[in-house]
């Protein structure tokens, strides 16, 4: 895969909902698969998430949300990532996100959306295959 550096993943919880079971299970599964995982904790603003992504120099961001506020919050996160020049970072999402919102989310640059019941294996595989290659 990549020589030397482990893939760095930020698992982030935007919005006010506190359902962190899925986010934590995914974080732990990615860590057990050999990645560096940073988990933000609950109720992070788009600004805080992007700041952490920048500080931690991550390759991948996983956004977890179950409150239904994704259409209000995800565009702002993507905008800020662009502003900060973090355009290489691969962003995926998970939680309760209705099928019909997915095309719009893909348009703004969210690469993949994982629904409830997705095996962590699928997410690990996705990250391994899609994390940007470092020079």
């Amino acid at each position: 895969m990549q020589s030397g550096r482990k893939i760095r993943v930020l698992i982030a919880k935007p919005g006010l909902d506190s359902h962190d079971r899925g986010a934590k299970v995914v974080a732990r599964a990615l860590r057990d698969a050999g990645m560096e995982v940073i988990y933000t904790g609950l109720r992070q603003t788009p600004e805080q998430i992007v700041e952490t992504a920048l500080q931690e120099d991550v390759d991948v961001i996983g956004l977890s949300i179950l409150s239904g506020a994704h259409m209000a919050l995800f565009p702002r996160i993507m905008e800020l990532l662009k502003e900060k020049g973090l355009t290489d970072v691969v962003v995926f999402a998970g939680g309760i996100i209705p099928e019909e919102d997915i095309p719009e989310l893909k348009k703004i640059g969210i690469k993949e959306v994982f629904g409830p019941g997705t095996p962590t294996e699928t997410i690990i595989k996705y990250v391994l295959e899609n994390a940007p290659k470092r020079r």
Binding site: G15, R21, R28, H70
Partner: protein, 560 residues
């Protein structure tokens, strides 16, 4: 429950059966698994016999319904007298929207309302707070001030309904608003009936909607318990909740044990206010989840009732049976619902609801089949309610009290759940109680471990979830009708709030908020002054901001 000689005879016969009959069967048809375990990790035997309950004493461990230790139920007639309360959780959009839904539910014969608040309200933010963006009215109704509460209960006489409010950190503020609406309607406070969830302890390791650090959070919960004991005799000030512990990933056993630990902490803390145990304990209520493992859940409910009665009697020395009552509300388990083949969720919910009824619950909420995808639609809520009605009126299970009593398996499992829960309680006592255990991350770690183990079991197919890791439909299209909250709700709500801030008596608001600040620093019971504040139309966010200043905000202990 059997004499020794009989048990010896049975043991001998069982040994014979194991040697002569069983091996032939196993040869022809080996057992499907090497070991069978329930979610709590308890090994399930192939067969239970009187040997497994040989140390039970009928009067000591089961007794009669309506009598100590209440294993068989709180009421002597149980559902023959009155069915459980079918209380469906509702709330979305503006106060007007939910008021309409409430009136619809009342016209359908419901007498118990159950309010879902949106996340900003739950976190103590006004609808125009930057953190509220995109969340106003989405997962519940938005309530920022008494004005919203007046709209929410407009035309609903508060002496004729009981209202349950799922609110914790800001419970005192929402209860104050409810009291203020009652005052305006001319309803005497002693007639107000309902429940505030108000269980702040479980927030730190389960629902995680924490605002303040653990100690002031506990203080606020106890403020409500104390105030209600003195002024609102028909109000259940707290619903000590295992539901969220379970949903966060705990096993049934952990749910049971941790919930009772929280219960003990509330009793101990309220006693410090100078109340006698019988002045508040009869009004403590509980809330559990009902998951998929049918008998494990039934055993959990029965063990919970017996254990609480014993704790109240032996640890807190009450002699009033009402103080020993564990009145419980049960909700079927949201985390067992699958997004795949969503109609299967109706079956899951039915099994879980049946377990709750056979476990003797007082009140039940059944989830809707589409809740792994979105908020439920009116149609899916109706199916969920009908599920309860079918159990109540068609299945016959409500026709006798505690029908599973005496089952060797159910009784053995009930005993085991109780014993193992006691071991946990002892462990937490040894740590110095719930707050030190929270601060050490004990509960958080236990729950994260269980959640991860559960997920691993699914991925390794040690646990089959129909439609997900087995019997999945390749390329399944999920045809559900989604309920969407109109985005104009946020705009409307913010306009109303800002108008209120312009038009109210702002000098009075400032004064009362200063008084609140002072009272919070003095460690007084804050209920009276919060009632005064909401009546002056101080907003939820303003009141909570004062408390945030005094108590500080909770910083999450991150444990993956």
């Amino acid at each position: 429950m059997f004499d020794r000689q009989k048990i010896e005879e049975i043991a001998k016969e069982r040994e014979r059966w194991q040697k002569s009959t069983l091996p032939n069967w196993i040869r022809q048809c080996p057992e499907r698994q090497k070991e069978f375990k329930n979610h709590s990790g308890i090994t399930i035997k192939g067969l239970y016999t009187p040997e497994d309950v040989k140390d039970m004493d009928y009067m000591r461990d089961l007794g009669f319904p309506g009598e100590y230790p209440f294993t068989r139920g709180l009421h002597a007639t149980m559902y023959r007298g009155r069915l459980w309360t079918m209380r469906m959780f509702a709330g979305y959009g503006t106060a007007e929207d939910t008021n309409k839904r409430f009136k619809y539910l009342l016209s359908e014969g419901e007498t118990g309302l159950s309010t879902a608040f949106d996340y900003p309200t739950i976190m103590g933010y006004d609808s125009d707070h930057p953190m509220a963006r995109g969340e106003v009215g989405v997962c519940g109704v938005a309530i920022s001030s008494l004005q919203d509460m007046e709209v929410l209960f407009d035309g609903i006489p508060l002496d004729k309904v009981t209202t349950s409010m799922t609110i914790n950190g800001p419970a005192s503020v929402l209860l104050a608003m409810y009291i203020a609406v009652g005052d305006k309607q001319g309803v005497p406070r002693e007639k107000l009936g309902g429940t505030t969830q108000n269980d702040n302890l479980k927030e730190f390791f389960a629902q995680k909607l924490c605002i303040f650090p653990p100690k002031p959070s506990l203080k606020l919960s106890v403020d409500v318990i104390e105030y209600c004991a003195r002024h609102l005799p028909k109000w259940n000030p707290i619903s000590i909740s295992g539901y969220h512990i379970r949903e966060a990933g705990a096993t049934a056993l952990q749910e049971l044990a941790f919930t009772l630990c929280d219960g003990i902490a509330y009793v101990e803390e309220t006693l410090k206010r100078g109340l006698k145990v019988d002045e508040f304990a009869p009004r403590l209520s509980f809330f559990f989840a009902s998951h998929n493992d049918f008998f494990e859940e039934i055993a959990k409910f029965r063990a919970a009732r017996r254990l609480w009665a014993r704790i109240m009697k032996e640890r807190f020395h009450t002699r009033n049976p009402r103080s020993m009552w564990m009145r419980m509300h049960v909700q079927t388990s949201g985390c067992t619902l699958t997004a795949q083949q969503p109609l299967n969720n109706i079956v899951r919910t039915t099994i879980q609801a049946l377990a709750a009824v056979l476990g003797g619950t007082q009140s039940l909420h059944t989830n809707s089949f589409d809740e792994a995808l979105c908020l439920p639609t009116e149609e899916s809520v109706r199916v969920a309610l009908r599920t309860q009605q079918i159990i109540a009126y068609e299945s016959g299970v409500a026709n006798t009290v505690d029908p599973l009593a005496g089952s060797y398996y159910v009784e053995a499992l009930t005993n085991e759940m109780e014993e193992k829960a006691m071991e946990y309680i002892q462990k937490i006592d040894d740590m110095g109680g719930v707050i030190p255990a929270i601060e050490k991350g004990f509960f958080q770690r236990e729950i994260a471990e269980s959640a991860y183990r559960y997920q691993r079991e699914i991925e390794e197919k040690k646990r089959i979830i129909v439609g997900v890791n087995e019997y999945a439909i390749e390329g399944e299209e999920i045809p559900v009708k989604l309920l969407r909250v109109d985005p104009s709700v946020e705009k409307k709500q913010i306009e109303r709030l800002q108008k209120l801030r312009r038009e109210r008596d702002n000098r009075k608001v400032k004064e009362v908020l200063e008084k609140l600040h002072y009272a919070a620093e003095k460690d007084e019971n804050l209920m009276p002054i919060i009632i005064e504040a909401v009546k002056a139309y101080a907003t939820l966010g303003e009141i909570m901001d004062v408390l945030r200043k005094v108590y500080g905000e909770y910083k999450e202990l991150i444990i993956i």
